[in-house]
Amino acid sequence: MHPASSIIVFTTLSGMGFGLIAMLGLGAAPSDGTAGLVVCALSFILTGIGLASSTFHLGHPERAWRALTQWRSSWLSREGVLAVVTLGIFAIYAALWVFAADRVAVVGILLTLLSLVTVYATAMIYGSLKTVPRWRTGLTPLCYLLFAVAGGALLAATVSALMGHGAENTLYAALVLMVIAWGAKFVWWNRSDRTTLASIGSSPETATGLGDIGKVRLLEAPHSSPNYLMKEMVYRVGRKHAQKLRLMAVALGGGIPVLALLAAVVSAGGGFILVIAVLSHLVGMMTERWLFFAEAEHSVSLYYGHR
């Protein structure tokens, strides 16, 4: 699948933003108004850039509001509705926090739940597609959720440290979640390497119905130049570097943040090193997300002689 940069930015930033909101809802970050202003603004910036970015690849961004109407059947629509509702409630929660220094715990828990469901819906846009076997697993939303909360916890710990507050619990949470998230990703990668179109029973033979005669091979493509379908769904660039990129994703997205978190635990502070961890994690996540799309094979490729 074509790894559109707008989609990569959307899924990583909004995932991290909603992960941060989920952690704030559980009481992470200092409760004074200034800290509230910083973390809430950060949440809005991340989710805002993410959601805005998701509209960049649209043919008609001015009609994006229509995407809120089909929540009964469409995960994309559900994601939009949930994001709007979550951010609306979060705006009230943030206002009370910043101006009245009052974090309403019940609303916080509700926000945690809503944020997680929003990230789940984002993941299900991809996890529900039968045409892309390696995405179609419960592990896809699991990874999205774990990465969201791990990134959110890392951010919350970083802001706390920068503002001179000890946040041991958040640090530990970030550490544990980061390890579990990458563990889940390893399981996902392991499954994805075994889950091909062939393994779910699709082949050029079933795609053409000509399997009874024999083995099917593309002789002539419909046109001499590539088309939208090939660019969007038969994207194969960079697959040969997949292993190197996976290593890079793990090192930047998991390795460096874990080391930085350990250092922060030991040194009881470490705001600067955590900022580096956040940036490294972000680059690692974007690499992971790039691979998520670029490595995925779509059943349309069976008609174009590529696997």
């Binding site: 699948m1 690849h57 649209l58 043919g59 008609h60 961004p61 009609r63 994006a64 229509r66 995407a67 809120l68 109407t69 089909q70 009964r72 059947s73 469409s74 995960w75 994309l76 629509s77 939009g80 846009i125 529900s128 597609l129 039968k130 045409t131 892309v132 779910i200 029973g201 699709s202 050029p204 079933t206 795609a207 053409t208 119905g209 000509l210 009874d212 005669i213 024999g214 083995k215 099917v216 091979r217 593309l218 002789l219 002539e220 493509a221 419909p222 046109h223 130049s225 590539p226 088309n227 939208y228 379908l229 969007e232 769904m233 779509h298 059943s299 349309v300 008609y303 174009y304």
Partner: protein, 263 residues
């Protein structure tokens, strides 16, 4: 509304005969021609006369080579022999929207622009609502939907909804442009919900098949498999040169053989 109808009054669709299609691309061209002037936005081309032309098409023909696995498809004396020595046959394979009963492209649509009509089962896009997110193209196993780069909306086969009910054109033209133009009569249009319709009968008689049934989309369009190739009678090769000689009998025959002997 992007939920699928539980039942459609008709199930209009196409039968494509892979035994007959000669891969001339006339259906592809006529589809593009009709749908550029008819329903919705025109099917645009980008850089059409340049080195790297692209464009939107609702119907594309792939050509596949099928290598016989057990000899059932073709015989050893056929002309279509691959370099590796195995039997092969060429199948031209037109592909457009299959107007699936369980169309995943409809349910993933976030805007309600994609819908399946209750009256005839045609899957259409409301181009005034489409935001061009492309998720329907991702959800379609067959590659039936393409984003039009000029309009920013998804284009797909409409089954020529603006022809089949069009009372302003002669009755014989009220079928999809691809069917109307096919010079080999490899494409047929009809109602699959009627077991006595031409298309239903054809599918029953010829073993019409679904593409990628494992995807669970329940396509309405059916493909008729190529018929098994007949095997030429295997016999000793004839002396073709002798056949070309005019036959001489009687006195001329005697003269002929006598002159042969003289060398």
């Amino acid at each position: 509304m992007t939920s699928l109808p539980t039942h459609t009054e008709k199930a209009l669709g196409l039968v494509i005969d892979l035994d007959i299609c000669v891969g001339c691309h006339a259906c592809v061209v006529n589809c593009k021609e009709w749908n550029t002037g008819g329903y919705g936005a025109p099917l645009s081309d980008q850089n059409p006369y340049g080195a790297d032309p692209v464009g939107s098409w609702l119907n594309r023909i792939h050509t596949f080579e099928v290598e016989a696995s057990d000899g059932s498809g073709c015989s050893s004396s056929e002309a279509q022999i691959l370099a590796n020595g195995k039997d092969a046959r060429i199948v031209h394979f037109p592909k457009s929207c299959l107007h699936c009963e369980d169309a995943p492209c409809v349910t993933v649509c976030p805007t309600g622009a994609s819908y399946k009509r209750t009256e005839d089962g045609i899957v259409l896009v409301n181009e005034d609502w489409c935001i061009g997110c492309g998720l329907c193209a991702w959800s379609c196993p067959y590659g039936a939907r393409e984003m039009d780069a000029a309009e920013g909306v998804m284009k797909k086969c409409t089954l020529c909804v603006d022809r089949i009910y069009n009372e302003n054109i002669p009755e014989e033209d009220r079928e999809p442009a691809c069917v109307r133009t096919c010079p080999a009569n490899a494409r047929h249009f009809g109602d699959f919900s009627d077991p006595n319709s031409d298309v239903s009968v054809m599918v029953a008689e010829r073993g019409g098949m679904d593409l990628m049934p494992e995807q669970g989309t329940k396509p309405v369009n059916k493909y008729l498999p190529p018929r098994p190739k007949s095997r030429p009678v295997q016999s000793a090769p004839s002396d073709l040169a002798a056949l070309a000689e005019p036959e001489a009998k009687g006195f001329l025959g005697w003269l002929d053989s006598a002159l042969e002997k003289m060398g």
